[in-house]
Symmetry: C2
Subunit: 722 residues, 2 copies
C-alpha cells in the first residue's frame, strides 16, 4: 500500500539534485492530459491510519475482543450471502412471472390472428408490451440513479481496485438496479440479469457491513468497527463473489472473480470468508427457487442461469471433447474476433451516446426504441422463417409457437426469440441434434449480434453475459452442425450442443476478456469438470486474439467514464520510470501543528485536491488524510483554546467512523475569521508510519501495490495513455 502523500514526500527526503531539471523536462515528455481523467473520482484509503487513537484502541482490545471481531466478520459474510441469494431469487421470480404473462398473452393473440390474418396487431401488441416494460425501467434509471445503468461490473471492478465511484454502493442504487433489471429483461431486450447481480451483491455487502443505511438515516449501532474503507472493501469483494455465485451457481467462480477483478493482495482468511458468502448465497437461491418451482429440496437450480448438466446419456460425447479441443483450435479464433468486433462497435456507439444522447428523456426514448425494434425484428424473423420442427417430448419449449407450421410442429426460430434469453441458451445447448436448421442459426446470430451491441450501454440496468453466451451458442451450434455434415461419422460429432457451449465461452471471453474466473464459472455452470480444459483453451485464445484488436468491454467503459483506473502492470516500456518522475510536485504538506486557515485554504483549493498530505517539518513524520482534516475542522479541535481544551471532549475514533463514508465537503464547513488564526495539532491524528519509497524506485515496483489514487496523480494519467 502506498500513498500519494508518501509519494510526494519523496523529494523532501533529498535536497534538490541537479538532475531535477532533467526530470522536469522528461516529465513534460509524458503527456499529462487532465481531460483523460475525471476529477469527480476519489480513491479508497486502503491503508489503516495507525495514529495514536487507533493504537490506544488496539491496546485496549483484549484477545477475546479480536476473536469477537473475527466472528462478526463471519456473521456479516453469512448475511451478505443470504440477502444476495434472496435478491437473486426475487429478480428471477419477478422476471419469470412477467415474461410468462407477456409471452402467453402474445402467444394467444398470435394464435388468434394466425387463421384470419392481421398478425400486425400481434406485432404491435408485442412491441407495445416490450416498450412499456423497458420505459418504466429506463425512467427509473435515467431520472433517479444513472449509476444503476448497465451491468455495474465496471463500477465494481473500479471500486475493488481502489477507486471510489460516487453512489455505487448505495441502497437507492440497489433498489433501482433490481427494479430496472426486472423491467429490461421482462421487456425482451437482448440483456441478461447476471451482471446486475454482481453489483447488487456488492451493494448488499457495503450496506450490511456498515450496520446502517445513510440513505435511510438508520443506524443500527452495530459493526461500527468496520466503518472504514479497508474493511468495507473487503466485504464488498465478498458481496461481488456472492453475486456471481448466485448468478451462475458458481461459488468458486465467484471467489476467483473477486480475486481476479479486485483483490489487490491475497489474504487467506478473507478469501475463506468470501467463499463462505458465495456458498450461502447460491444455497439460499437454490433453496427458495426449489420451493418456488414446487419441488422443495430438489435444489436443481443453483444459479439464475444454469446450463443444465452435460453428462449421463451424452457421456460418450463429452469424453471426446478434449481431443476436439485440439483438432479444432482454429475454431476458437472467431470468439476473439467477434468479441473484438462487438467491443469496437459498442465503443463508437457509446461515444456517440456520450456526445448526443445525454438528456434523460432522450435516453428513455432510445431504450424504448430498441425494445420496439427488438420485438419487430424478432417477429419478422419468426414470421418469415419456415423452419418447422416436430414438437418433441424432450424439448425445453415453454411457449412453442405453431404459427404456420403443420400441427404437432413448432417454429424453431421462435425458440430462439420467443423466450427469455436464459431459456434460449439452454435450448441451444441441449436441444437434440436437428432442432435448428443452419440458416435459422446463421440469421439469428447476425441479428442478435446487432441487437446486443445496440442494447449494451442503453440507460437500463442489464448485463451482457447472457447475450454474449447466446450469440456464441448460436454460431457454435451452427459450426457443430456444419461439422457433422462434413464429417459423416455420427458417433462423435453427434451432439452440436457442446459446440454451442464452446462457442458461447469463446464469444463471452472475446467480449469481457475474463480468464481464470470465467473458466471456473463456465465449468461450474455446466457442472462438468471435463469441459475445463477446452474452455480454458478457448478463453485464452479469445483473450489473446481479442486483445490484439481492442481491450475488453468493461475496460472500454471504464475508460469512457474517464475513471482513473490503475491496471495490474505498468506498460513494459515504462518499467524504468522512477517514482520521482511520476510523483506530483511541488508537494503540499502541513506542519505537525498547522494554522487552521492554511488547512482550510489548501483543502478548498480545487486545482490540487489531494487526498493525503505529508506532515513535516524536515523529513516526513506522518501522513494525514483529507477526510481526517475535515472531521477535525468540523469538531473544531483547535489548540488555541488550551484552557478550555481539557473540558472539551477529546475526539474519538468513533467520531471519524460516524462521519464515514460521506464526509462533508470543505465548503460546507464554516470557519470563522478568528478560528482561522487558531492552530491545529495533527500529532495524534496523523498516521506516523506511511509507506515511503526512495525517489529512484521503479514505477514497475510501485504499480502492483494498491495505490492511493487521486485524479491529479500523473502516474495514472500516464498509465492510462500508454
Amino acid at each position: 500500500m502506498f500513498h500519494v502523500g508518501s509519494r510526494s514526500t519523496v523529494d523532501l527526503e533529498e535536497e534538490i539534485t541537479p538532475e531535477e531539471d532533467i526530470v522536469k523536462s522528461r516529465l513534460k515528455e509524458i503527456p499529462h492530459n487532465e481531460k483523460l481523467l475525471s476529477l469527480k473520482y476519489e480513491s479508497l484509503d486502503y491503508d489503516n491510519s495507525e495514529n495514536q487513537l487507533f493504537l490506544e484502541e488496539e491496546r485496549r482490545m483484549s484477545h477475546m475482543g479480536f476473536r469477537c471481531l473475527e466472528i462478526r466478520r463471519w456473521v456479516i459474510c453469512g448475511l451478505i450471502g443470504f440477502l444476495t441469494g434472496l435478491i437473486a431469487c426475487l429478480i428471477d421470480i419477478a422476471v419469470e412471472e412477467l415474461a410468462g404473462y407477456k409471452y402467453s398473452a402474445v402467444k394467444q393473440n398470435i394464435e388468434k390472428f394466425t387463421e384470419f390474418g392481421g398478425l400486425s396487431i400481434s406485432l404491435i401488441l408485442w412491441a407495445a408490451l416490450n416498450s412499456a416494460f423497458v420505459m418504466v425501467g429506463a425512467i427509473a434509471v435515467a431520472f433517479f440513479e444513472p449509476i444503476a445503468a448497465g451491468s455495474g461490473i465496471p463500477q465494481i471492478k473500479c471500486y475493488l481496485n481502489g477507486v471510489k465511484i460516487p453512489c455505487v454502493v448505495r441502497l437507492k442504487t440497489l433498489a433501482i438496479k433490481v427494479f430496472g433489471v426486472i423491467c429490461s429483461v421482462a421487456g425482451g431486450l437482448a440483456v441478461g440479469k447476471e451482471g446486475p447481480m454482481i453489483h447488487s451483491g456488492a451493494v448488499v455487502a457495503a450496506g450490511v457491513s456498515q450496520g446502517r443505511s445513510t440513505s435511510l438515516k438508520k443506524d443500527f449501532k452495530i459493526f461500527e468497527y468496520f466503518r472504514r474503507d479497508t474493511e468495507k472493501r473487503d466485504f464488498v469483494s465478498a458481496g461481488a463473489a456472492a453475486g456471481v455465485s448466485a448468478a451462475f451457481g458458481a461459488p468458486v467462480g465467484g471467489v476467483l472473480f473477486s480475486l481476479e477483478e479486485g483483490a489487490s493482495f491475497w489474504n487467506q482468511m478473507l478469501t475463506w470468508r468470501i467463499f463462505f458468502a458465495s456458498m450461502i448465497s447460491t444455497f439460499t437461491l437454490n433453496f427458495f427457487l426449489s420451493i418456488y418451482h414446487g419441488k422443495p429440496g430438489e435444489l436443481s437450480s443453483p444459479g439464475l442461469i444454469n446450463f443444465g448438466r452435460f453428462d449421463s446419456d451424452k457421456e460418450k460425447n463429452f469424453d471426446y471433447i478434449p481431443f476436439e479441443s485440439f483438432l479444432f483450435f482454429p475454431y476458437y479464433f472467431p470468439g476473439g474476433m467477434l468479441g473484438a468486433l462487438f467491443n469496437v462497435i459498442n465503443y463508437w456507439l457509446t461515444i456517440f451516446r456520450i456526445r448526443y444522447i445525454h438528456r434523460p428523456c432522450l435516453q428513455v426514448m432510445e431504450a424504448m426504441l430498441v425494445a420496439a425494434v427488438t420485438a419487430t425484428v424478432a417477429f419478422a424473423m419468426i414470421y418469415f422463417s419456415n423452419d418447422c420442427q416436430p414438437l418433441g417430448q424432450d424439448s425445453t419449449e415453454e411457449y412453442p409457437l405453431q404459427l404456420f407450421c403443420a400441427d404437432g410442429e413448432y417454429n424453431s426460430m421462435a425458440t430462439a426469440f420467443f423466450n427469455t434469453p436464459e431459456r434460449s441458451v439452454r435450448s441451444l445447448f441441449h436441444n437434440p441434434p436437428g432442432s435448428y436448421n443452419p440458416l435459422t442459426l446463421g440469421v439469428f446470430t447476425l441479428v442478435y449480434f446487432v441487437l446486443a451491441v445496440w442494447t449494451y450501454g442503453l440507460t437500463v440496468s442489464a448485463g451482457v453475459f447472457i447475450p454474449s453466451l447466446l450469440i456464441g451458442a448460436a454460431w457454435g451450434r451452427l459450426f457443430g452442425i456444419l461439422l457433422s455434415t462434413i464429417t459423416s461419422s455420427q458417433s462423435i460429432w453427434a451432439d452440436p450442443g457442446k459446440y454451442a457451449l464452446i462457442g458461447a465461452a469463446a464469444q463471452l471471453g472475446g467480449i469481457v476478456r475474463m480468464t481464470l474466473s470465467l473458466t471456473v464459472i463456465m465449468v461450474e455452470a455446466t457442472g462438468n469438470v471435463t469441459y475445463g480444459f477446452p474452455i480454458m483453451l478457448v478463453l485464452m485464445t479469445a483473450k489473446i486474439v481479442g486483445d490484439y484488436f481492442i481491450e475488453g468491454l468493461y475496460d472500454i467503459h471504464i475508460k469512457l467514464q474517464s475513471v482513473p483506473f490503475l491496471h495490474w502492470d505498468a506498460p513494459p516500456t515504462s518499467h524504468w520510470l522512477t517514482a520521482r518522475e511520476v510523483m506530483s510536485s511541488p508537494v503540499t504538506c502541513f506542519n505537525r501543528v498547522e494554522r487552521v486557515g492554511r488547512i482550510v485554504d489548501v483543502l478548498s483549493n480545487t486545482s490540487t485536491n489531494h487526498n493525503g498530505f505529508p506532515v513535516v517539518p524536515g523529513k516526513i513524520c506522518g501522513l494525514i488524510l483529507r477526510s481526517q482534516l475535515i472531521v477535525l475542522l468540523k469538531h473544531k479541535v483547535f489548540v488555541e483554546r488550551a484552557s478550555s481544551r481539557l473540558s472539551q471532549r477529546r475526539l474519538q475514533l468513533k467520531d471519524f467512523r460516524d462521519a464515514y463514508p460521506r464526509f462533508p465537503p470543505i465548503q460546507s464547513i464554516h470557519v470563522s475569521q478568528d478560528e482561522r488564526e487558531c492552530m491545529m495539532d495533527l500529532n495524534e491524528f496523523m498516521n506516523p508510519t506511511p509507506y515511503t519509497v526512495p525517489q529512484v524506485t521503479l514505477n514497475r515496483t510501485l504499480l502492483p501495490h494498491p495505490t492511493e489514487t487521486t485524479p491529479n496523480n500523473p502516474y495514472m494519467t500516464f498509465t492510462d495513455e500508454l
Copy 2:
C-alpha cells in the same frame, strides 16, 4: 516485501532516542530463544535487486523482449504441467503393477492354504513382501536423501512462504521421492501417493524453469532470465499446483492450494499460468492413463485418486445432502477431534523419533517393522472377521478373497485391507448399502487409525491424505449405517456412501486443516458441485474444533523441524509491537566503498549470519545481499586495481545468475592478505531502493508481507513462541 536489511536500517534513520532503553528492556520481555529456530535455514530473496546492472538490462530490453519473456513463462508452465502429469502417470502405473503382482501372489497362496490350513505361511509371505518393498524405499530415503521423507508438503509450504529449505527442489530429491513413494505404497503401508506428487511437481518446476540441472552439471543455456528466487518461486508454486491437480484431478483446487499455502501476494497473470499448468498436468495424466487402461480417449481418470462420480442414479440422494448437512451438524465434530488426536499422538511420536531414531539403519528397521506389523494386523483381521458378503456385479473388488466364506461370497474385511488404499476409499464411497457390517467398519477404523499415526513420519516418502480419507470414510460410513438403522425411512438415508464422503472430508480436514483449497479439491474429485456446501461446513467445523486442541499436522512438522516459518498474521496480542522492538540490533552495515577484509570478516562471522546488509553512510542508501557479496568476492571485483580495472571485464548480471542458486560458502573463497586491504565498490551492485519502514510501524503491518527471513530475526522467534 520487506528486508531484514531495511528493518535493521531503521535505527539509522533516527538518532538514538531516550526510549531506546525502554525498548531494550521490553525486548528482554520477549523470550528470544534461539533453540526454537534452526540456523541452517536461509530465506528467499523475494525482492528484485534493482541495481544498476538490472536497470541497464531493463532499458536495453525492447517491448518485444518483454513479450518473449512472457511467452517463455507460458511455455515453462506448459512443460511443468506435462512433466508432472507424466511423473504422476509413472507412479500410478508402477504402483498398480507392483501391488497387482503382490496381491495376486498372496491371494493364490492364501487360496492354496485355505483348504489344508497353514495360512501362517501366507502371512509370512505377505509380511515379507511388504517389508522388502518398504526396506528398499526406506534405504533410498534414509541413506541418500532424507529430505525426501514424508509427504513433502510441509517443505513446499515453507518454500512457497519464502524459507529456503536445503535440497528441497533438487533433481536427486525428485528421483528418491518417486522411487520411495512407489515402494512404500506397493509395500502396503497406510500411506498415499498424493502428497509426494505435490513435492514432485514443485521440483519439476524448479528444474524446468532454470533450464539446467546443477546436480547433473547440465546447462541448456535457456531461461537464464529466470535464475533468481522471485521467478523460481513463482514457477514452483505452479509446480505444486500441477502436482495437486494431477493427484486429485483438481486443477482449480491446485491453484487454490498454492494460493492458500504459498502465494504471499496476488498476481493475475501468475495465477492464470498456474491454472494453465494444472490443467495441462491433469489432462496429461488422464490421457496416458486412459491409454494404459486400454480405453484411449475415455479420459475417465483425471487424477491419481478419483472418488468416482456421485450422481446419476443416486441423483435423489445427493440432492438431499444439503439438508442433512444442517440436520447432522454435531456429526462434524468427530472430524476435528479425531484429527486433533491424530496430530497429538503423531507429535509425541515424532519427538520420540527425533530423540532416539535418528540413525539411518534404525529408521529403515522401523519402517520395515511397521510394514510387517501392517501386514500381520491386516491378515489377523481378515482371518478373524466372519463378515461374508455376496459377490455382487457392481462391487469394485479387484482381489475378492473368499477365504472361509461360502462360494460366491467374499470377505468384506479384505475389501478394506487387501487392496491399495485408493481402492479401499472408493469402495467405501460407492459399494452398495450393506456391503460392510458395522463391526467391520468400527474395528477397521480403530486399527487403521493406529497404523496411520504410526506410519506418518517414518523415513519413507508417503502422503497422509489417503489414510486420512480412509479412516474418515470408514467411520463416516459406519455413522451412515447406524443412522439408517435408527431412522427407518430408507428413501433418504439409503446411501451410506455419501456419509463416507463427508466423514472422509471431516477427518482429512481435522488433520491437515486446509480449508478453501481442500473444499474445492474434494468437490472436484467427486465431480459434483452440490457437495460443496456440506463439505465446506464440515471442513470449517473440523478446523475450528481441531485448532482448539493443536495445530495442523503440517505446521507441527514444520515446527519440529525448527524452520523459521512466518504465519499469516501476527498473534493479535502482539499487534501493538513496533518494528523497532522486533528488529535486530546493532545493525551490521557496509559503506558504499568497503574494505574487502571487513566484508570477509562480517560474512564469515557465524554468530550473525545476516543475509542482507544496508549500505550507508548516514542514512540508508542501499541494500546488498550476502549472495551478491560472495559473487563479487569470487570475481575479485576490487577497486584498488583502478589501472587494470578497465581491462578487467565488468561483472554482468549473467555472473550472478550463473552462480545462482548454489552460491559458494564464504569459507570456500580465498582472499589473500593484500587483497584484504583492497576496497570494493558496492554502488552499482546494491539495491538502491530497498523497502524501509519507520521504527514505529506496527508489527501487524509488517507481518503479512513476504519477509526476508533470517534465522536470527527476532520477529520470527517471537511469532513462533506466542
